[in-house]
């Protein structure tokens, strides 16, 4: 599975979900960065992935909000 290509394809839609702060690839998994442990954001992401790329190895990582420093 080409996770980089999947990330590139789905990033715009994933980042449109409120509470998603980023999307990446780490530890061999698609990585969804979320601002807090919001169940709503997580559920929306899981729903999107179930429809677009089921069985994708995915991890969720809490980040807080990113700001220019």
């Amino acid at each position: 599975m080409d996770l980089e290509a999947l990330k590139k394809r789905l990033s715009p839609r994933l980042l449109d979900i409120a509470g998603v702060s980023g999307v990446g690839v780490s530890r061999g998994q698609l990585t969804i960065y979320i601002e807090n442990e919001s169940d709503a954001a997580r559920q929306q992401v899981e729903q999107l992935l179930a429809g677009e790329a089921p069985d994708t190895p995915t991890r969720f990582v809490g980040t807080g909000t990113f700001e220019a420093r």
């Binding site: 990330k7 980023g22 909000t65 700001e67």
Partner: protein, 200 residues
């Protein structure tokens, strides 16, 4: 805006300060030729005597998406005012050539606010949303880092050069962060956009 003067850069024999657009150009708003102070005015810099450079070039930060770098250079007024090798604790860079960030790479930086910190690269191709004064901005293909002992960076550390501990070569330019992570541009992309090289 307070920030960090991350490195000395060079092109055609002219020396520049390398940092972020949002540090040197205040998010696209400072005019080319605008005065750059060290210490910065938020750190009690004196307008009458602390100008060390003038803004030369920046890559515009675009509201919305399509960004890969937040960077700018400012021409040093007097080369004697800056020392290319002065990176406390980080030491002298061993090469001006960037090294590609890799997951698990051990890194270090010196910044205006948190000083010397060490950390590890956790992602090298992240797409993220960053809050700026001009709005929420999307960046593609970014480096994520975590600190070894608490936060790797804080406000005012933007512009820090992130250096690989194993090779002492530059790998990223710090520009954003959250309570848990720090984000950096691939420094190879920064140098290519600005058409400069790091001075060692």
């Amino acid at each position: 805006m307070a920030g960090t003067f991350g490195a000395v850069a060079e092109a055609s024999g002219t020396r520049y300060i390398l940092s972020n657009n949002h540090v040197l150009a205040d998010e696209n708003t400072l005019s080319i030729g605008g005065a750059i102070f060290q210490p910065g005015l938020l750190d009690n810099g004196d307008v009458g005597k602390d100008q060390i450079a003038k803004l030369t070039r920046f890559v515009p930060v675009k509201a919305g998406g399509g960004n890969t770098v937040d960077c700018a250079i400012a021409e040093v007024l007097d080369p004697k005012l800056v020392r290319a090798t002065f990176l406390p604790k980080v030491g002298k860079l061993k090469s001006p050539e960037p090294i590609a960030a890799a997951e698990g790479m051990r890194v270090m930086k010196v910044g205006r606010t948190t000083g010397f910190t060490t950390g590890v690269v956790t992602d090298v191709s992240a797409t993220l949303k960053v809050k700026y004064d001009l709005g929420v901005v999307r960046f593609d293909d970014q480096v994520f880092l975590e600190g070894d002992r608490g936060a790797f960076s804080d406000r005012g550390d933007s512009g820090s050069l992130i250096v690989d501990r194993a090779t002492h070569r530059p790998t990223a330019l710090l520009f954003a962060g959250s309570p848990a992570f720090t984000a950096g541009n691939h420094v190879s992309a920064v140098l290519a956009e600005l058409a400069v090289s790091v001075v060692v």
